[in-house]
């Protein structure tokens, strides 16, 4: 574990003060009609929480965490239940999105075989929340879920102040305005796919960088990242400690080096309040440690959690490696799904529903193509996750 505690504590402190500010802003000046609308929307999301696991993890701070979760909306307590039991419980709920609260130690994911596992892809299994949105006994719904699903992850290492602050951001997320502007960055070899997704992001007119030459030590990087409401990242990711804390640039040439382009530590210095982030990068939504035997994911080394801990409304990413097309028209697999998410967000769909609809729209096209493409398409949708408030909108 390479995480240094002092920056994390500073971040939690900053996040706390920002949370208070944003919470005041979120609740101040709302008309009665707005509050009624907000209440109606809140009824369409269920927050699935294993409260006994929260108590075991957070000890004396757990009551505050549970109260923070209850402030998000209707809580469904799934203490002591297996993923299959939780799936059945969610399936029995009235219509509405379901949001899993906490990381994998609080609510485990389902584990599914990787459809493209083989010599070209060493990811053996895929951790996925998608089956929580499926009707039990209908495996096809794990690829195109019936119900919108999201997760609000915490760090694997218990940090009550940080998680409470993160939940504070999430409480404000459904009504929080997305800041204008955008930030996009990709590995140089993925420049075409970056442009493909760019075309789907409404209001994207901010910095668009390739790495190399962009790198993590460039001056002004936190200023460039902060305050933009739409972020798309297509850098390489890693699935082992400590490289998983960074996102990497890479060129197409022989023996091209991997360049550290962004890191969770950089995100620790940024303000993402109200931002929506899509990662087409490998492993950006990976919350487990496999195949590594050691290491725990937290806001200091997990890029999606780092964004949420600094105010992002929602992040989208893959738990395993994403397939990226490097030739024109660049419209395949991971970037195609990311673009579909942005198109759904542009139609004012709430975040989790945007991912659900994006998966269906993507599969409608992908399954009509060659049968040989199907494993790649199925991996793409199975590993794609929404982290953050399910009702957050662009």
């Amino acid at each position: 574990m390479t995480r240094k505690q002092p920056p994390a504590r500073r971040a939690a402190s900053r996040a706390h003060s920002r949370t208070a500010r944003s919470s005041r802003r979120a609740h101040a000046g709302q008309s009665a009609a707005h509050q009624k609308h907000q209440g109606k929307e809140a009824m369409t999301a269920y927050f699935v929480c294993a409260t006994s696991a929260v108590r075991a993890k957070y000890g004396s701070a757990a009551a505050g965490i549970v109260a923070d979760v209850a402030a998000l909306g209707s809580v469904i307590d799934v203490s002591g239940q297996s993923p299959e039991q939780i799936q059945a419980k969610i399936a029995a709920l009235p219509a509405g999105a379901a949001c899993l609260v906490g990381g994998y130690d609080l609510i485990p994911p389902f584990i599914r075989p990787n459809p493209t596992h083989g010599s070209q892809d060493d990811d053996a299994e895929i951790p996925t929340d998608a089956p929580y949105g499926a009707t039990p006994g209908h495996p096809e719904e794990e690829y195109a879920p019936e119900r919108a699903i999201s997760r609000i992850p915490d760090s694997a290492t218990a940090d009550a102040a940080e998680f409470s602050a993160l939940l504070g951001y999430q409480r404000a997320a459904p009504t929080q305005t997305t800041p204008p502007g955008s930030y996009e960055e990709a590995a140089d070899e993925f420049s075409g796919a970056l442009q493909y997704v760019h075309a789907a992001i409404p209001g994207a007119h901010g910095p668009s960088l390739l790495s190399p030459p962009a790198k993590s030590t460039d001056p002004g990087i936190t200023k460039n990242l902060s305050g933009h409401g739409r972020i798309h990242i297509l850098l390489h990711g890693a699935n082992y400690d400590p490289d998983w804390a960074a996102l990497w640039g890479h060129g197409p040439g022989a023996n091209a080096p991997f360049v550290k382009a962004l890191t969770a530590q950089i995100f620790d210095r940024c303000d993402f309040e109200g931002t929506i982030v899509t990662f087409s990068s490998c492993y950006a939504a990976m919350l487990d440690a496999a195949p590594a035997k050691h290491g725990a994911r937290n806001s200091g080394n997990q890029v999606a959690v780092a964004c949420l801990a600094h105010g992002a409304k929602v992040t989208f990413g893959a738990t395993r490696s994403n397939w990226i097309s490097t030739t024109s028209p660049y419209d395949g697999f991971g970037p195609r799904l990311a673009a579909e998410v942005w198109r759904q967000l542009a139609r004012r769909q709430p975040a989790a529903e945007a991912l659900r609809l994006a998966k269906a729209a993507y599969l409608k096209v992908a399954l009509s193509q060659s049968p040989g493409d199907r494993p790649y398409a199925l991996k793409t949708v199975l590993q794609a996750q929404c982290y953050g408030h399910p009702m957050a909108k662009l």
């Binding site: 493209t116 083989g118 010599s119 070209q120 060493d122 850098l235 023996n255 049968p371 040989g372 991996k379």
Partner: protein
């Protein structure tokens, strides 16, 4: 269309990747022939599941095409295996993929 040989498929894929990768190419899957032992991707889902999924999303499942293959160019990198995979469908390159 006449059936392409493995060599022809490999040459087609090699032309689609950077020069430094070309000598690493091998056919992972021929969709119009038995898979090369140990190289094929796993079967993703049963026929019934695929049919139900297609119905669910309103897709008409694509049919198998002749001269279709995946050719892989394995590359062990500092971040792990980042194999380039070339999809050939109906005798044409449709995708050149890398894992991000």
């Amino acid at each position: 269309m006449a059936s392409m040989t493995d060599r022809e498929l490999l040459q087609l894929a090699q032309a689609a990747v950077p020069e430094h990768l070309r000598s690493l190419g091998r056919i992972a899957v021929r969709h119009d022939a038995p898979a090369v032992a140990g190289l094929a991707a796993v079967e993703p889902a049963g026929d019934a599941t695929m049919t139900a999924l297609a119905k669910r999303v309103g897709a008409k499942l694509g049919a198998e095409e002749p001269n279709s293959a995946e050719v892989e160019f394995p590359e062990q990198t500092a971040l792990g295996m980042r194999t380039t995979v070339v999809h050939i469908r109906n005798g044409k390159v449709t995708h050149v993929l890398k894992r991000g």
